[in-house]
């Protein structure tokens, strides 16, 4: 039954979308910074994973953690040196700076790796449940994406750093008064965002051909997911991602592939105008 296949397609795609957006959502929600670097960071994670696989035969799942840590470190450095000075600036400034940084990263990757699409040819096979077919690598990506988001959620709620981040997100000044070191929290958040982007990149390298040409697309998806699901919260990114995946899958089936992406954007615009905090966002927080 094709309906079930569409549903499954949408969910597996949606989990990937959630994973790619959660880091972006965190940075936007907590630091109030629209991180234009996000798409390129994901691609960087993907390239590094592919490189490790090609030259040292490292399995992408094994590469996931090291790549994430590397990007975490990179994110920390970028935050401390640059973003930190701009956190209170209006969106025009922060968006433009991250755009400039993105140009640098994008160019660097093009020179180092060039834009040829790279794919990790794992060929894990498929799983058939009745008439519905699922690719194993998508299943793995789905599970991992969920695991990462749930892990993040746990970290946010249970660890001190996590709770500090949430506190800063809710009310920066009150958090500062309570003794939380804001700069530390900011650095942590941005680094987390970058690390998650790296992890997502590793996952995507298993599933998509990786090329710098799609970094802008990934960023665009992140925008849409954040608006749909709500900013700054992990469940928001998860819901937003799954919803977007389902919408694209359904629209692609009903209205043809040329309209699938358009409908996703259309929904985003409608939500922006009517309920900008998204499906799960909290009211009053911009």
């Amino acid at each position: 039954m094709i309906g079930l296949q569409i549903l499954v397609n949408g969910l597996t795609l949606g989990a990937l979308y959630a994973c790619l957006a959660v880091g972006f959502s965190l940075v936007w929600g907590v630091l109030n910074v629209i991180n234009m670097l996000h798409g390129s960071l994901i691609i960087l994670g993907g390239y590094l994973t592919w490189y490790a696989w090609l030259h040292w035969q490292v399995h992408p799942l094994a590469a996931l953690l090291p790549v994430a840590l590397l990007l975490f470190a990179l994110g920390w450095v970028i935050q401390m040196t640059m973003i930190n000075r701009l956190v209170r600036q209006p969106v025009l400034t922060t968006l433009t700076v991250t755009f400039g940084l993105d140009l640098i990263l994008y160019n660097a990757m093009n020179v180092l790796f060039d834009a040829t699409p790279r794919r990790i040819t794992l060929d894990l096979g498929t799983l058939s449940l009745g008439e519905v077919v699922l690719a194993w690598d998508r299943i793995v990506a789905f599970v991992l994406a969920l695991a990462l988001t749930l892990l993040l959620y746990a970290v946010m709620n249970a660890s001190r750093t996590g709770r500090a981040i949430v506190a800063v997100r809710m009310d920066r000044d009150a958090a500062e008064l309570m003794g939380i070191r804001i700069n530390r929290v900011y650095a942590m958040t941005f680094a987390l965002g970058a690390g998650l982007a790296g992890a997502c990149g590793a996952l995507m390298a298993m599933v998509f051909p990786i090329t710098t040409n799609i970094s802008g697309l990934l960023l665009g998806k992140a925008f849409v997911v954040c608006v749909i699901g709500g900013l700054g919260t992990v469940p928001g990114a998860l819901v937003g991602g799954l919803v977007l995946g389902l919408i694209e899958s359904l629209s692609g089936h009903l209205f043809g592939p040329q309209n699938a992406v358009l409908i996703g954007y259309g929904l985003m615009l409608v939500l922006l105008m009517t309920r900008p905090t998204g499906l799960l966002g909290r009211k009053g927080y911009e």
């Binding site: 936007w28 109030n32 629209i34 640059m82 000075r85 701009l86 209170r88 600036q89 209006p90 969106v91 025009l92 400034t93 968006l95 433009t96 700076v97 755009f99 400039g100 940084l101 993105d102 140009l103 640098i104 994008y106 160019n107 660097a108 093009n110 020179v111 802008g216 665009g220 925008f223 849409v224 608006v227 040329q258 309209n259 992406v261 358009l262 954007y265 259309g266 985003m268 615009l269 922006l272 105008m273 900008p276 911009e286």
Partner: protein, 319 residues
Amino acid sequence: MKRSMAIFAVFALAVAAVPLAGDNYLLQQATFVAMYCALALSWNLIGGYAGYPSFATAAFVGLGAYAGALLQNAGLPMVAAWVGATLITAAFAALLGYGLLRMKGHYFAVGSISIVEVLRLVASSWAGLTGGGEGLNVPIMPGGPEFAGRVFLYAMWAVMLLAFASAVWVDRSRLGFGLRCIEQNEDAADMVGVPVTRYKTAAFTLSALFCGTVGAISASWVSYIAPTDAFSILLTLKVPVMVLLGGPGSLLGPVIGAASFVLIEQTVWSRFLDYNQAALGLVIVLLIFFLPGGVLGRLRWRAKPAVQPGAAPAAGSAP
């Protein structure tokens, strides 16, 4: 005010005199300068004066390009097509503004940038009208390259003049005053009696108007348009940078910024073959960190002394 106008007049005369230098390439560069000045001046109305960071510039330029191309192909003479495209773009912006301007800060930014992508997707899928991915041909203007070069230079130059004139008008009028109030604190402005919605929509429409004209002229110039290049995210991100470079919220800021940016770009990409994008990115980053008020901010000279160029953190309401 008078100083700004005088300086601009000198600049405009310099640009208009370029054909006398006889070099077609120089002519083309001057045309680009005029074009970006027009775009930057337009953006300044919504981004600088009103404080709403719009990233929809490319949407209007692209819309103008398609409207102009379609009108020209339908038989309208070139200039009439340009005018028609301008009107269509303005109408679209006015309607769009109604929904878009309800959002503030980040949401407005994200909403405006998505319009670019949405229009690109529409142009791509509405193949019956727009030719889809194939693009649209526009007939080449007869008369040879030197003549065409001049026509397009003066066309962009005229748009630049009109954009400057509208900026002057806005700056002097109640609209301009109202916009500045909105930029400082929208709720307070509303309470004081400034017709916030009307003014914002007016500024947004005005900012879109000349983008449409630029788009239509570009389409005639290149003789071919296609969705991906017509709705260029890079363009939409470059224009605010130009205004930031020059100094937002002032009359000359966008002009200085646009001219300087084109100059920098020319010297950068011809020198750093493989790294030109990174060089541009570096310029942008350095600009934000070391020239926060733009060139004019640095020179400590503003058109209206009381106005802080957009980025002051004290303007609390803009997140």
